[in-house]
Subunit: 351 residues, 2 copies
């Protein structure tokens, strides 16, 4: 393995993952060979997983959380819809979500045989709840809101979305995979204290600074998770609610270490730095005549000419686009002001 | 993270995972913060993944393999059935598998809306293919065989199972999650050279000695994987066939390092040692009057009294049972002759 070097994060502006916290890395290395998917055999790591779930519950105002550490946000979103489908009594189940919902919801709908009904966004890139009301009916098994959208970092009106779910007897699932470690330090209404939410995705391996794989699925009660249980002969434990079976203890242990190190003060500092950097970049791009979506969370979307975008990629900036082609920069903890200054300098050289 | 110690493997006789190879551990640590699920951003690890798939293809006699490194055998089995379902043209899809198939097939069937039809085993704990023929029909989308069953380590008659699949126009999926790194050194007929197999599960993080998560899904052609593609806006790449989205580069890099270090000589030695240990344990248990299933692969199932089983668990032996209650010992690389001698000595103290 001498020849290959790991990707450096210094020019990565597109990823929702980041450099893990040093404590998270060390914990991952210690627990590389454990499997929380077999808690009867690997007791220590299973206990640590319970602690991670409890801490995530504290972050989202859910005093007695159920849940587990998933392989990532995709698994958590798939599992949330699977809970909703398994509990519902309909032959033609559907899910209502905004068009800003992550592509894992499309994957989940395809796998689970759910019709995915997507509502347009309002002028502020948030879910249009009037449209969601119209889409929801007695066959709706889940209504989804996003707290920190992948494209624009916007927070949907979560209390209104939970009310729509309640109205049609569906579960309310909130995808806070990326936003969940930032939102506790904002005024947004997004968590279990703000609305009758049933399940939530919140990923330690994104802004939580754990190592991959450490996603998070939280549920209001154990009874919701029971909808996923599959019997497990020949393990020392009796049943399993996860999607993946064998799982990485490294991700779980690293999540615990990151939470120990950073909750709440470290995450608060990180949130403030990330937001300040996003505001700075947004202003810099506006100064240069770009149309910019105001970064409510630390994510900047701005229209730049195609030629400029390609030239920046040629200079090895790892950048990506929103669905309608805008430049998208995620101000993760590894993205410093110096990095953004260098990026803007390179942008200036193109124009 | 000072207080918790990782599980030691010394008394773990129940797991299909094992101590990773030192090179695998080192590679995992280097690539902890990479994501092969976003190959446009993380190029190096994506290249390494292609190499792992190529090497797995070599192991199973598939010269131009398609596939990827999954989170484990469960994801690979789910994805194989998802390919089969997505390609088939039926409103009432079913899957035919032996009762020895891993519980992930039940999970997959539930998720994907497939009827799982299970065929009984023959007297040798292999799939009864006469029963499978009767279960298969025009709505069958996949016929499953197991090469190294979880309970008894048996290899189903793979060429016959592939013929059944062909007969009804279904895909043939082989689950070699555990057995795949042992079977190349045996006379069994189980791989792509022996039968027209379409997809296979083969996990580096079991006998391959990579770190979790490093499962493997192989497919005869890229076209099969295309049945899984979901569009991925806002990544640098355009579509994604995996279940989990963001994935661990650590697992991928560790699989490459383990294969570099051990294929083929190291795996051959390990296979011989494991088999010799299983044969020794089987003989020792038979000498003590237990009824033992002859270990064709390095896995011993033997009937021991309930009281004895519980007493051994009390002595901190990590052991599990087959579905009908027999003691089940998996002779993984970390299970030495000394360990087994100590286990048998403790058994003797109970009787």
């Amino acid at each position: 393995m001498q020849r290959a070097t790991p990707q450096e994060f210094s020019r990565v502006l597109s990823s929702m993952c980041t450099e893990p916290h040093p404590d998270a890395r060390a914990a991952a290395e210690r627990f590389l060979a454990t499997n929380p998917g077999d808690p009867g055999t690997y007791e220590t790591i299973a206990d640590i997983e319970h602690e991670v779930v409890a801490q995530l519950g504290e972050m989202v105002s859910l005093p007695e959380p159920a849940g587990y550490v998933t392989s990532g946000g995709s698994e958590a979103n798939i599992q949330a819809l699977r809970i909703a489908r398994n509990r519902a009594d309909t032959d033609e189940p559907n899910v209502v979500a905004p068009t800003s919902a992550h592509f894992s919801f499309h994957k989940a709908a395809g796998m689970l045989g759910l019709e995915l009904r997507t509502a347009p966004l309002d002028d502020e890139y948030r879910a249009n709840t009037t449209a969601m009301v119209e889409l929801a009916d007695e066959d709706t098994v889940a209504v989804v809101g996003v707290a920190g959208t992948t494209e624009h970092g916007r927070v949907d009106p979560i209390p209104e979305i939970a009310a729509i779910a309640e109205e049609v007897g569906a579960l309310c699932h909130i995808d806070a995979a990326w936003g969940g470690f930032h939102l506790p330090f904002t005024d947004h209404e997004w968590d279990f204290a703000d609305a009758p939410i049933d399940t939530m995705t919140i990923d330690p391996h994104k802004l939580g600074r754990a190592v991959v794989p450490a996603g998070g699925l939280l549920a209001r009660s154990d009874e919701l998770l029971d909808a996923l249980a599959v019997e497990t002969p020949y393990l020392e434990s009796r049943s399993q609610a996860t999607l993946t079976g064998t799982r990485s203890g490294a991700g779980v242990a690293s999540a615990r270490a990151a939470l120990d190190a950073l909750w709440p003060g470290g995450y608060r500092d990180q949130a403030e730095r990330g937001q300040a950097n996003a505001d700075w970049l947004a202003a810099a791009l506006e100064d240069r005549g770009c149309s910019v979506v105001d970064p409510e969370l630390p994510l900047v979307a701005a229209e730049v000419p195609e030629k400029t975008f390609e030239a920046l990629r040629e200079m090895d900036w790892r950048i990506s686009r929103t669905g309608n082609g805008a430049l998208r920069v995620v101000c993760m903890p590894h993205v410093t002001r110096e990095t953004l200054q260098a990026f803007v300098d390179d942008l200036d050289r193109q124009e």
